[in-house]
């Protein structure tokens, strides 16, 4: 099947298997390996990306469903050499250890802040329910998002 998907601002036209998951399209067809896979059951959120500005677990979506859509992955979040404030916040606040959950955490939280730029800690926690981290105990992740929201004018 032919699809045309915009990823990080570039249009990619490919002939793909109808069963191909979006996460495999991103990782294998395009070689954008910042989007990770951590489970088989849509639990972990390591694969979170933005589709038309909303966060989405890219393992829950077929690549053909993304036809004509705009996708942003972790690689497309920074503005050239300028990191997104959320990326800076995770860096500054020790919001990562092994870092495998980090791209998904950053994508989920940046989309969330668009809807809710001034979240309480409680709201941040609810927004991250679908993103697992096995290393940090989440405290510094919540702190990072809080810091980013403040920096972004929250």
């Amino acid at each position: 099947m032919n699809v045309s998907i915009t990823i990080n601002g570039t249009v990619y036209e490919r002939d793909i298997e109808p069963r191909m998951l979006l996460v495999h399209f991103i990782r294998e067809e395009l070689g954008l390996t910042g989007t990770n896979i951590g489970c088989d059951t849509s639990q972990c959120g390591a694969c979170t990306i933005h589709m038309d500005g909303r966060s989405l677990k890219s393992c829950t979506c077929l690549a053909v469903q993304a036809d004509g859509r705009e996708i942003t992955t972790i690689e497309g979040l920074a503005d050239g050499d300028n990191l997104h404030p959320m990326q800076e916040a995770f860096w500054d606040n020790h919001g990562l250890q092994c870092g495998y959950c980090t791209p998904g955490m950053i994508m989920a939280s940046t989309a969330f802040l668009k809807d809710n730029p001034h979240p309480t800690e409680e709201e941040i926690r609810h927004a991250l329910e679908g993103n697992f981290c096995r290393c940090t105990g989440y405290q510094n992740i919540v702190k990072s998002i809080k810091a980013a929201s403040e920096k972004m004018g929250g």
Partner: protein, 734 residues
């Protein structure tokens, strides 16, 4: 640089997605590998037919037992075939002993073809009697898993100290319990993956995530029958480990396939494959009986520990060695009698997991201590202070601890920083008020613990570092070669900090070469809370020598140093007498929980953790370890229930094996970081990353008891178990 929260040296690549993990690396012309695992818990493979798989278009090769040159592996004892089945000259390798045994390996042009082909392999099994209960496995008529381990006993450790009869006769109160701890799955977020290929120097090379590059190398060259220099192991970024990457998963088969085919071969495990095919934390059954005088002094302690090793040893004999020492807690007790067994069964193998036998020991020991406090009508902090190890105290194995025993300070700091106040020369608990909803009951619990830093009981412990000083009039660049694995904990950042400190240059001048057997010498494993302690001492030694050469005008000035800590000794087979360890970490935790007596849900509200880290080289990474360990331990105590039925894991998904999400974790974790220097540690640092795990489960059971009056001697305390037990006590019936 010591004491500064330097940001991680790998943070940039991790927040931009640039950093590759093992599954992210590809090579031109790579093939894909898939493993076929056993369909039986215990059986002899009489035939294996791979012809259909081989005939599938796109399949390049199928490897079976006959293709493995030296068909055995294992970290401590090489008791597991790389591939089980007929045709290998390794005795016993035609038998599968667990569902996670590998029976064949397929290599194909794509992952999908390989996955299809493994299903076409026809394996003929002749079933053997199997045993799944650890105590049943010790019976005389139980099926035997390994010829050299009668009654399936891998290890039996004894501790015989003092005079038990005299001890019991002094006891005014005696408490007893039978404690059961469950499996725990590591659930590192990055499932196993790797890439094998032949490098530019003709070496078979494996890019993989592990905990010790040189150990992976050794396991590979042994199985492939190659000289060490023919094998190379490289780690990229590693997506968590927690002990779960200490043993082999994909390493040997990737090397085998790449070596035989002389082509790159890649594999990525699914989450299901990961949970089904790597080892777990040991389930243990612990029988414990302690006696104390009415003023709170423990006078006798007896325990019997049985640990389910599963079908192969992995590190079981070492894990059980730790439990043997820790099952009587960080207390000085004159009369002690302990028997500890590691037992083979046809269950999934068990091995290293954060705490390494310590959490199971502490679960029993601290529950015993809390029950003693209750029986004596004493405060749990007060009774601990009467018994804790102090400088010069003798361990149960008859020798003193290394200097710098700080458990008394740690217990007091935790009490003060949490819910206790000192008054009238004693400790008093101040309970927060109960919630208005009568279905919710709050309680406070306390527990403490100790854990060795570094490899124990006579293991030849060491760590190599090389420091190169480059420049002319002044040092322009420092290269440090240190192999130690950064599994996510931040070891590499700490290596750079310690090198900058030891040489006296800013961190910007330091470049780290690591994670590659071709560029470094062995560091030992990133486990046993040892990496900062061991590598720091090696880096200091190398820096000192390099600086001397620099002064003598050598350019570049290069020095290599091997740090060896003071020797330890194994348990005496009859009495257990030994010098078990060269360093320890000490920890105490207080927790506040809320129990919903209707649903059985336990909510951990707050944890206060006092951990003596000696010196906090990177304080932010220290608190990161504390917070992460607490959440993992909370999962262990309450949520994480891996179900095995006749050796088969029933819930190998993150949808059915539940780990804590952000909504499950305590809203407040207060880290009380003590810096009471270890005289042997680099700049005084102690190991710390396992310690906060150790006392949490028993602190939670104590808090649940405080809330409900019921003791839970079995973990995990899942809601259904809690409800059942509370109802037995007439609690929560509405």
């Amino acid at each position: 640089m010591i004491g500064q929260s330097m940001t991680r040296i790998d943070a940039l690549g991790k927040v931009t997605g640039e950093t590759p993990y093992p599954g992210d690396i590809n090579l031109e012309g790579q093939l894909w590998l898939k493993m076929r695992f056993s369909d039986r818990a215990h059986a002899r493979i009489t035939a294996i037919d791979t012809s259909q798989a081989e005939a599938l278009p796109g399949v390049v090769a199928v490897f079976t037992a006959k293709d493995v040159p030296v068909n055995e592996y294992g970290l401590v004892i090489k008791d597991q075939p790389v591939i089980c089945g007929p045709g290998s000259d390794m005795p016993g390798s035609d038998i599968v002993r667990t569902y996670m045994d590998c029976v064949a390996v397929v290599v194909a042009e794509t992952d999908a073809i390989a996955a299809k082909a493994v299903k076409l392999i026809d394996v003929t099994y002749e079933d053997l009697p199997a045993v799944f209960d650890m105590e049943a496995a010790m019976e005389d008529d139980a099926p035997q898993l390994h010829a050299d381990s009668p009654n399936n006993i891998i290890c039996h450790y004894r501790i015989r100290k003092g005079d038990m009869e005299a001890g019991w006769s002094q006891a005014d109160v005696v408490v007893e319990g039978v404690y059961e701890t469950g499996y725990q799955e590591h659930a590192y977020l990055q499932p196993e993956a790797g890439l094998g290929y032949i490098d530019e120097e003709g070496r078979v090379t494996v890019i993989v995530g592990g905990q010790w590059v040189h150990e992976d190398q050794e396991q590979i060259y042994h199985a492939l029958g190659l000289p060490p220099e023919q094998v190379r192991v490289i780690y990229p970024a590693i997506g968590g480990a927690f002990g779960g990457r200490e043993d082999m998963s994909v390493q040997i088969v990737l090397a085998l396939a790449a070596w035989k085919l002389q082509r790159p071969v890649k594999t990525i495990w699914s989450r299901e494959e990961s949970i089904l095919h790597h080892h777990k934390r040991h389930p243990m059954r612990i029988y414990s009986k302690w006696g104390a005088t009415k003023d709170g002094k423990i006078v006798a302690a007896e325990a019997k520990v049985i640990g389910d090793a599963g079908a192969y040893n992995y590190t079981s004999n070492k894990v059980l060695g730790n439990t043997n020492l820790m099952v009587t807690g960080p207390y000085e007790i004159d009369n002690v009698h302990v028997d500890t067994y590691g037992v083979y069964t046809n269950n999934i193998p068990c091995g290293a997991f954060r705490g390494f036998g310590g959490p199971q020991g502490a679960f029993a020991a601290e529950a015993q201590m809390n029950k003693l406090a209750e029986a004596l009508g004493m405060d749990p902090v007060e009774v601990r202070m009467k018994n804790v190890l102090r400088e010069g105290s003798l361990l149960t194995v008859g020798t003193p601890l290394p200097k710098g025993v700080t458990i008394p300070q740690v217990v007091e700091a935790c009490a003060e920083e949490s819910y206790w106040r000192r008054g009238d020369g004693a400790w008093h608990l101040n309970r927060p008020p109960q919630p208005d909803n009568p279905a919710l009951r709050r309680g406070i619990g306390f527990a403490c613990g100790f854990k060795n830093v570094g490899f124990s009981f006579g293991f030849p412990e060491q760590n190599w570092a090389t420091i190169e000083l480059h420049g002319g009039a002044e040092i322009e660049e420092v290269i440090v070669r240190q192999a130690g694995a950064d599994v996510g904990q931040g070891a590499h950042t700490v290596f750079v900090q310690m090198t900058a400190e030891a040489v006296g240059v800013p961190v910007e001048k330091v470049r780290l070469l690591t994670h590659d057997t071709a560029k470094t010498q062995t560091s030992g494993s990133s486990s046993a809370s040892r990496m900062t302690f061991m590598s720091g001492n090696a880096i200091r030694g190398a820096a000192q020598q390099a600086l001397q050469l620099w002064q003598d005008e050598e350019r570049p000035a290069i020095a290599t140093y091997q740090y060896k800590p003071p020797k330890t000794t194994p348990y005496h087979p009859e009495t257990g007498e030994s010098e078990p360890n060269f360093a320890y970490g000490y920890v105490a935790e207080a927790v506040e929980v809320e129990v919903d007596i209707e649903t059985g849900h336990i909510h951990v509200i707050k944890v206060v953790c006092a951990n003596d880290v000696g010196v906090a080289i990177n304080p932010q990474q220290i608190t990161g370890q504390i917070e992460g360990a607490i959440v993992q331990a909370q999962g262990y105590a309450i949520m994480e229930h891996l179900i095995s039925n006749e050796g088969k894991i029933q819930n190998p998904f993150l949808s059915t094996y539940l780990i804590p999400t952000v909504l499950d974790v305590p809203t407040e974790v207060k880290s009380v970081v003590l810096e009471l220097a270890d005289p042997r540690g680099p700049w005084g640092a102690r190991g710390m990353a396992e310690m906060p795990f150790i006392p949490l489960a028993p602190a939670i059971t104590a808090a649940v008891h405080d809330a409900t009056g019921v003791w839970f001697d079995e973990i995990p305390m899942t809601p259904d178990r809690v409800v059942t037990k509370l109802r037995e006590h007439g609690i929560g019936i509405l």
